[in-house]
Assembly symmetry: C2
Homo-oligomer: 213 residues x 2
DNA sequence: AAGCTTATGTGACCTTAATCACAAAGTTGC
DNA sequence: GCAACTTTGTGATTAAGGTCACATAAGCTT
């Protein structure tokens, strides 16, 4: 039955959770599946669940008022969307977009449980604080890059991060996609990639990039 | 004696705190005073205290690796530095700079108390979460601006924010200071301000700007 | 293989903003 | 009032990156 599966997910993705918390969450969480490209969360949407990612990969974007959107970070299995916890506590809406990259499974925990979980389970409390801290730091790094770095450096950092987060040197990205993530334009990215290829940092193929470091 | 003063500060700046929490903090907190220009926190520094601002104004900067620094937001009385809470829980160092704008008074609460406060005092718990949430949102807005807006719009937003946060239309800022905060250059800011003056949005004086909206 | 679609390469041009080089005011100290 | 300093104004130049207009090229489809 479904509970066994949930418990299994919790044990493997969140091994730091105390047994009582695992049991509690097993009871309260519901499984949700998303296909690649599905939105877990969208601009202006009210959060009623805190999402724990147990399988797949989620990409987080900041929505620009003018339509463009800006890639911030990935959420891996074993992590939660900080925003789904932050916003939920105040029933506020967020201005971010969370999109599944691969087929993704999350555990949805009703917002209404947050207080009780925080109070009763030390490992949950640490998890929430740590999630905030990490995401906060991540945003600070994003700010660094946009305000202090030129596009060539940002592109290199972006590819390095893709490599780290996806665990492969074969990055399945088109130039247009990268441009979108970095809020730049396709031509600029193409030219910079060519330069990187000349410096033997990448090998360019159609629809993917071999990242050499 | 000092405790009476601390309690007074807590009551007036943090009226939402429950009485037991006020008493607890009155015992544990120590007063610290800073003069305009003093650093409350600096890059790479280990946080041993959570700082609650009770008087004055604190300016938070992100430090660029290359030396420049970038204004993020103000911390008003009644608020805490989210980073001093986040970093402290993990004993990590931060890469931000907090500078007193005016003469500023803060209550310093030892990091070691955080867990107990979170567990025992509901109003503290809400305060911490709300602080995180607000700062997170603030960073998202910062990201928006740097990545989606041109300098003229960012300047207008900056002046509006100064007006809001400082509660006056007479903004005591030189063009060079503004340029530094926005990570731009003095000449660019001067030219943009001139344009704004022509549009009757500001009146320029020496060493200050009259903000007309 | 012909034709379509998607991805990439590239030159020309334009805009924004950074930088340099001064000039001109306004302020302060003496 | 006269230096010395701070702040602001302004033109000229440059560089980064965005935009436009195509040309190729690589995969699919049939």
């Amino acid at each position: 039955m479904s509970n066994t599966i949930i418990k299994q997910h919790l044990l493997s993705s969140f091994p730091q959770f105390e047994p009582a918390l695992i049991d509690k969450l097993t009871e309260e969480a519901t499984l949700k599946d998303f296909n690649a490209g599905d939105l877990l969360m969208n601009t202006g949407q009210n959060m009623r669940f805190t999402m724990l990612v147990v399988k797949g990969l989620v990409k987080l974007y900041r929505e620009g008022a003018d339509g463009g959107d800006f890639f911030m970070y990935y959420i891996q299995p074993g992590n939660a969307c900080a925003l789904s916890m932050i916003c939920s506590t105040k029933q506020e809406t967020s201005e971010v977009k969370a999109m599944a990259v691969d087929q993704t499974t999350v555990l949805a925990i009703p917002t209404s449980m947050m207080d009780e979980l925080m109070k009763s389970y030390k490992t949950w409390y640490y998890f929430v604080l740590e999630t905030y801290r990490e995401r906060f730091e991540e945003l600070l790094v994003v700010i660094d890059h946009i305000s202090f770095k030129a596009m060539d450096e940002r592109l290199e950092f972006y590819l390095e991060k893709q490599h780290q987060d996806l665990g492969t040197r074969k990055l399945m990205l088109t130039h247009a996609e990268i441009a979108k993530d970095l809020n730049s334009s396709r031509e600029v990215i193409s030219r910079l990639l060519k330069k990187m290829e000349q410096q033997q940092k990448v090998i360019l193929h159609r629809s993917y990039i071999e990242y050499l470091k």
